[in-house]
Symmetry: C2
Subunit: 222 residues, 2 copies
């Protein structure tokens, strides 16, 4: 479980302070499917990044199973992330001039998984997002939605207990989007993976058991 | 008007040929609102790029008002584009470490518009996409949807007769998306701008007078 306690995030922007999150307290329960919605610029990606320990709050605390984690060093956070968290970025952040297969293998490489097992798992994941015929291509040779699917496969590579997905179907037609959603829900059923989905897509939000709305750096609802 | 005649596009990918468009004939009429839909990887972005002369077909012809344009040199195409076409890229393609305002001014700078007039027009456009308070920020300091809105403002800067928009609301909540759509339709009413929208969003597709579906590099419907 992940808990945020009075979390704020202030960015320094052209000499001014921009309060992106203004006091967020949120409990994410194991195995739940949580949708995060809200207008453009409201703070959703920032909230997701902090929840995944990709960045640190300005004030407030973050707990993974009641252990305080926001104060860990960057390398401690990296180790914890690699074991526990899968992240799908809003802009994918695939590694250029690196094949789809190698991109998906990256989290497993980081964990020291042997190459044969890495290949097999990455291949299986690419197939489950409909990308097996393109595994040897670079991101620049793929369409927007194809890149998005590779990013999703990569996030699932190390079987994370927590998947944080930032607009994971934003570049997908409705059929590809449903198929991705089915995949994520199936994995959740099988492994108890917790799913936090930032989305503008009403269909996706509807599937979630719980919906939290971000407005101007604060939470509405629960 | 834009006409595509038996257009194909083949990419060379890891030693193989990938036929992204397999024979597209399409007439885009002045002032119309055309939605381009189809599954991920079907060829929509490729079709849009060729229509905007950002790339050349492998075979086939492209005409702007009955003048053959696909055979022009890169610099001739760049000049024609700068006068006639606004393009919103699926991945925005904003210039890093360059402010939102400077990004929006770019097409006007290219055309030699004097700086005061450039500033005023860019400011007005940023305001119309709800981004005036962020004009001095870099793309990396903006949310996904904020970057998308800056990209839209830039595409409109030189008052193009043809706007080609690749998933222009993919990162926007429904209210921001409607407001962008209203802006585009208003501009179309006033100036007769032709709108071609690649979209996965059913709401956006519904607004279009005409819908064309791309499937595996070919067109269905008309
Ligand atoms: N530069 C490239 N090199 C090789 N193949 C490419 C390149 N660009 C696109 N393709 C391939 O051409 C096909 C069509 O791509 P395109 O980007 O037009 O699809 P799309 O309909 O826009 O998809 P999406 O909805 O996912 O954005 C895809 O199979 C894609 O992988
Ligand atoms: N690195 C940064 N530096 C400065 N400001 C930032 C930075 N990242 C985000 N912001 C600002 O913080 C606020 C929240 O951004 P965030 O990316 O969390 O929004 P969002 O809800 O994900 O929006 P969208 O739906 O458009 O993706 C925005 O005003 C944004 O401009
Ligand atoms: Mg975001
Ligand atoms: Mg595309």
């Amino acid at each position: 479980s992940v808990r945020l306690d009075a979390v704020t995030k202030v960015y320094a922007v052209s000499g001014q302070e921009l309060p992106a999150l203004r006091g967020i307290s949120l409990e994410i329960n194991p195995g739940e499917v949580l949708a995060l919605v809200g207008s453009s610029g409201s703070g959703k990606s920032t909230l997701l990044h902090l929840s995944g320990l990709l960045d640190r709050p300005t004030t407030g605390s973050i707990f993974y199973e009641n252990r305080r984690v926001d104060q860990l060093s960057p390398s401690e956070r990296a180790v914890l992330r690699s074991r526990r968290v899968g992240f799908v970025f809003q802009n994918f952040q695939l590694i250029p001039r690196t094949t789809a297969l190698e991109n998906v293998e990256m989290p497993l490489l980081y964990q020291g998984v042997p190459s044969r097992e890495r290949h097999e798992r990455a291949r299986m994941l690419l197939s489950s997002v409909g990308m097996s015929d393109r595994e040897r291509n670079f991101p620049s040779q793929l369409s927007g939605g194809q890149q998005q699917r590779v990013a999703i496969a990569r996030a699932l590579a190390a079987s994370p207990g927590l998947l944080l997905a930032d607009e994971p179907t934003g570049n997908l037609d409705s059929r590809s989007a449903s198929s991705i959603l089915d995949l994520l829900l199936t994995l959740k059923e099988r492994s108890g993976m917790t799913l936090v989905l930032v989305t503008h897509d009403q269909e996706l939000a509807r599937v979630a058991k719980r919906l939290v709305r971000v407005r101007d750096g604060l939470l509405e609802g629960s």
